[in-house]
Amino acid sequence: MLQKDDIISKLKETFASAILAVEDPDGIATFTIASESIIPVTQFLREQLGFNFLTDLCGIHYPDQELPLGVIYHLHNFQENVRVRLKAFVPGENPSIATATDLFPAANWMERETFDFYGIIFEGHPNLKRILNVEYMDYYPMRKEYPLEDPTRHDKEDQFFGR
């Protein structure tokens, strides 16, 4: 059986300098990884520890952090039934991180979605363009500074009951 502690110790052994933090918020071992070593770590998890299923990949935005944009990976090992979560943070100016599409074909659209929402460039991605929004959109809507509402509506402009 592959235990959570084994994963933590094995990763720490191999990538001592790349692992910035280890947490366990909800029973899933969570590693914060330096963004340049995300692919070697993922590859190690996939090839040495059997995490062959990319459950999820999504972005996150903390405007007040030094590295405001983040990418979060959830990996799953079916045989041992263990999950891990990896986080990598990138700067707000020219955010870029290596693509995981070579390891997991499933990452293709998830990375496109993250690019669409947060503007994180996945280097080496075969087809990095907007996926959900219209192509001519000129901002990244999921970043915290952009509003949710449709700007063309005027029926809600009310001093007391408006939005």
Partner: protein, 188 residues
Amino acid sequence: MTTYTKVAPPEGFSAPGLFATSFEKVLGLARSYSIWPLPFATSCCGIEFMATVASHYDLGRFGAERLSYSPRQADLLMVMGTIAKKMAPVVQQVYEQMAEPRWVMAVGACASSGGIFDTYSVLQGIDRIVPVDVYVPGCPPRPEQILDGFMKVQELVKNESLRKRYSPEYREMLERFSITPITPAGQH
């Protein structure tokens, strides 16, 4: 034995062996019971539309048995579900491809007004791009509501003037939506 009600005849003058009424009314009656809807189903309301046409509710009872998936033959555009801004040009194109006379029914809150999705990516009601005849509220509307909306469309079809589609007001209205009218101007 099954009992059924015949469709009531339009107002007119009847005598033995003779029935006289205006052409408009006959045409309206015939049209209203042979509407070919184009189901433009995008999301949740589309699933309720499936229930509406299926065995339990059976839209076919209202003369709409034949769903026309091609806009060319369709009379009624039923827009069911959220229309995102990416989808908006497609809706307008489908409307432009339909032949006159054509009616539009916005089924559900999203198609009518954007519904709960007051967001950057959703069109806030299809009446911003095409003229709408009947709005059906609900998120999603129940099949009964869709049927009710359909009957409202039938009512409109029945009472429509033959000259309406050629009138300058109608042409002006279409031009407000940047849709080129297909009926020739100045006839009738």
